[in-house]
Amino acid sequence: MVMILKKSKNGFWTLLSLITYKKKDKPEEFYIPEVNEGESRQVSQEKNNDKSTPSTNEKQNTQKDNKGLKKPIPVSELKKEKTESGVKKDENCISCSIDENIDFINRMFNAPVNKDIVVREFNIAGHYKAFITYLSGMADKITISNFILKPLLAKKSVEDAEEDCKLDYILKNVIETHQAKKITSPNEVIYEILNGNTCIYADGCNFYISAETVGFDKRGVDKPQTEGIVSGSQEGFNETLRTNITLVRKIIRNNNLVTEFLTVGERNKNLCSILYIKGLANPAVVQEVKRRINGIKTDFMLGDGMMEQFIEDNTFSIVPTILSTERPDRTASHIMEGRVAILVDGAPFAKIVPVTSHSLFHTPEETYLRWQYGTFIRLIRFLAVALAALLPGLYIGLVGYHREMIPTDLMIAIVKAKENVPFPTLLEILLMEVSFELIREAGIRIPGIIGNTIGIIGALILGQAAVQANIVSPVLIIIIAVTGLGSFAIPNYNLAFGVRIVRFLFILAAAALGYYGITLAFIAIAALILSMKSFGVPFVSHLGPQVRQSHDAILRWPVWKQEYRPDPVNPLDVRRQPKISRKWTAKDPKTGIDRERNNDDEGR
């Protein structure tokens, strides 16, 4: 302390600032307005958006971010910004000369060094100078040669054209690919090439044509790896965004299902799409999702996992506030509830926002099952979470503080077994927990088919040997095993992580203060979870004020009873189905054949 004081006058202020409080400016928290209320807010937000043209939008966001995070900007980044803005100034529009354009492409892709970029010069119909450019490997060469080069090189292809720039004519009449469009900005050109499209340029034009030639190797649609179910669809997402969107669209055949594309990542320009149903999802949520994704200023965006960390509300929370799923059917059902799905290219997962806590306990399994079975497996899952989080802690509290609760015979058996074990129970349990986590982690990393075997054998042998070597008591093995089973039964992979970490907290709390400590830890964690929000929706919403009772939160009611969409999401259309959704129950089955036609338009 003396040191600090000596150092400078500032030292005093540093010291003072440790015990005084400075109020922080807090930006207004996002919330979802009620459907009627939302309009005014939306208008104001749109105004904001109007003010900032797309080019300045990013800058504004970076300024905001910098303020919020107080992150110093490294010199390299400053430099980068400078150079990029320099490029933009020079090349905001496309030059009319073919040489300059070739030069531009070569420069942007570091052509002589970079071997991937292909620039093929040729004469259209033998007269007009032109070139096509694409990234080799990203584009499908057969498409290019058959449907772009061949027609262009054919002698008579552009003979009738009378315009100065032949590209317009070519776009309309010559190119034979499905998608082709005009591109007027150099940045877009680069982006198109990066995506695997082929860009065509002809001398004298001030734009390019981008023809869809994407064709790279990808994995086929496979079974979901982490969310397997017994009954129901067995399709999972793969790494291609387009395929993933198709998988969802295949389930929701609705013209209002909107896919919006955004790019994230300064350098890798990853494609990310937002899926929602227009007229069902609350526009404020869509707006907010776009605002957050547009507000990401980062170098590199690998996939949805990174995206989640950039846009989630509570960075320090132990449970995820964004639902991650690799199942198209699950994504679809969430979209149909008025939520927004975010898909990022390159990762076989969809992120769904906003979610409430109980979504983390759901699987599509119970949607496919009858409600009795669905409710049963859900209750099992709640038990699983409770066991996985609490059991070791409860055991520590039990044997450390509340020994009177153990049935006497069992307790004497435990003591007898522990008689030769030198370690305290806390150490025993930590030892076993750590080794269990080790086995788990190793089981994933060990290649191929050995993985599973090693897990089981490792656990069995380790447990047995530890007991025989008097390192742990046998009861503990049961505790750890049940805990492990519990954590495997949690359907959400991220939640399972959270529970595994919380378990250690409970162990420490129990060791420190017994059940009193566990209860305090429980209250604290509950309070923190209750205070969390996922995109404006209270994370634990069925405890909050609610207008309509959900029939699919903790227990699952018969499917015809689930008349409303989840209340907290505030969808524009709250009703899922009419009060009587099974119209046939109200009718006389004998005369049903005659009436059938009349009721067709009512049927939902």
Partner: protein, 369 residues
């Protein structure tokens, strides 16, 4: 002003109910049984009814100033200076209340569960959770109390059901206890046991209207009256008035006495958590409102910087009593019995004053215009 989130009637009811019924877990049953004998179970209903009347008076007061918190009403009726003094008085009282509840909790925990753990250790961990609640704000507290009330009521129901092997309905004879006159006098005096409904008036702003306030107040008083009465009745049916006036914590003694079978006995530890939950919520709400009205009275914008100092103060207050005897015989007696003169007296006086002075919300609006 600081941001206070809104919540519904259910949350408000559970907030007040949990705060009121917490005392049944602690020394309150033996004190009541000691004074009222077999009449304890309906003696508390007398207190309940008196409190209901006071609440209706309070409602009349709040009705004259729709949308205002109680402290704003104080300011408007008593003037700025006196209003502030009264508000700060309430703030100090609530701090004392929080501290004493913490102390009572500590005494029970030390007596039954953790006899050798240092008190400061228990209190600091407890207060850190309370401070967390104060930091997260009223909405989280209210929503947690809604969850907590369910847990507490269900577990209490289980606890009382498990104890049913001992119940003997004859133990509530003779029905009049120590005499009907004594029951009524003590019941009226003890109406301070339901004083926590007054906290609702301080968070009017979050209650979304007078109608919710009325519903929350009446609902919480009646619900907690029922819960306390039933648990006292069953307590008497188990322990008689004789042993009943000896047990330090009545309900905990029931949980210690549960004997269902060879393997289901001595299970008090699993019931411990309702003691902790209800105490945490009670102390947290008194603590939060103490800070909140202090801030409002002195025009402090953000309550968060005050959490640490106020926690420290609560910690100090909890160390006031030298021993268990002083806690029970002086401090708890004051809070549960005589504090009604302060807590009920002031709002009623303010109501009388506002009637005499004819002050209403409408006037103030006109002034502003």
């Amino acid at each position: 002003m600081m941001k206070e989130d809104n919540f519904g009637t259910k949350e408000a009811v559970s907030l007040a109910t949990l705060a009121i019924i917490t005392k049944v877990f602690y020394t309150s049953p033996f004190v009541i049984v000691n004074s009222l004998g077999t009449a304890a179970w309906y003696g508390t209903l007398v207190s309940c009814i008196v409190s209901l009347l006071v609440f209706l008076l309070l409602y009349q007061l709040m009705k004259r100033f729709p949308g205002d918190d109680l402290q704003a009403v104080f300011m408007k009726v008593l003037g700025k200076v006196l209003g502030r003094i009264v508000t700060v008085l309430f703030s100090v009282y609530l701090l004392y209340y929080a501290g004493m509840n913490l102390r009572e909790f500590l005494e029970i925990i030390k007596a039954y569960i953790l006899p050798y753990t240092p008190p400061s250790y228990i209190m600091i961990t407890f207060l850190s959770v309370v401070a967390l609640f104060a930091f997260l704000g009223l909405e989280v507290l209210a929503r947690f109390s809604y969850l907590g009330l369910w847990i507490v009521l269900i577990t209490m129901g289980l606890l009382l059901t498990f104890g049913s092997t001992y119940y003997n309905a004859n133990y509530i004879k003779p029905y009049l206890g120590y005499g009907i006159d004594k029951t009524i006098i003590y019941g009226v005096l003890r109406s301070a046991a339901y004083q926590e409904f007054i906290l609702l008036a301080f968070i009017m702003g979050s209650l979304q209207g007078l109608k919710n306030f009325k519903r929350a107040g009446i609902g919480s008083i009646l619900l907690s009256g029922g819960v306390i009465s039933i648990s006292l009745l069953l307590y008497l049916m188990m322990f008689q008035y004789t042993v009943g006036s000896e047990n330090l914590s009545g309900l905990f003694q029931i949980s210690r006495s549960i004997y269902l079978s060879r393997f289901f006995q001595r299970v008090e530890a699993i019931f411990l958590f309702i003691w902790v939950i209800s105490s945490v919520v009670t102390v947290a709400i008194a603590f939060y409102i103490s800070i909140s009205i202090y801030c409002k009275a002195l025009n402090i914008g953000d309550h968060r910087p005050l959490i640490l100092p106020f926690s420290f103060l609560t910690f100090l207050v909890a160390f006031f009593p030298k021993n268990l005897t002083e806690t029970v015989e002086f401090h708890m007696l004051f809070i549960r019995q005589y504090s009604s003169f302060v807590v009920y007296g002031i709002p009623v006086l303010v109501l009388v004053l506002s009637l005499i002075l004819g002050r209403k919300r409408v006037e103030s609006r006109n002034e502003k215009v």
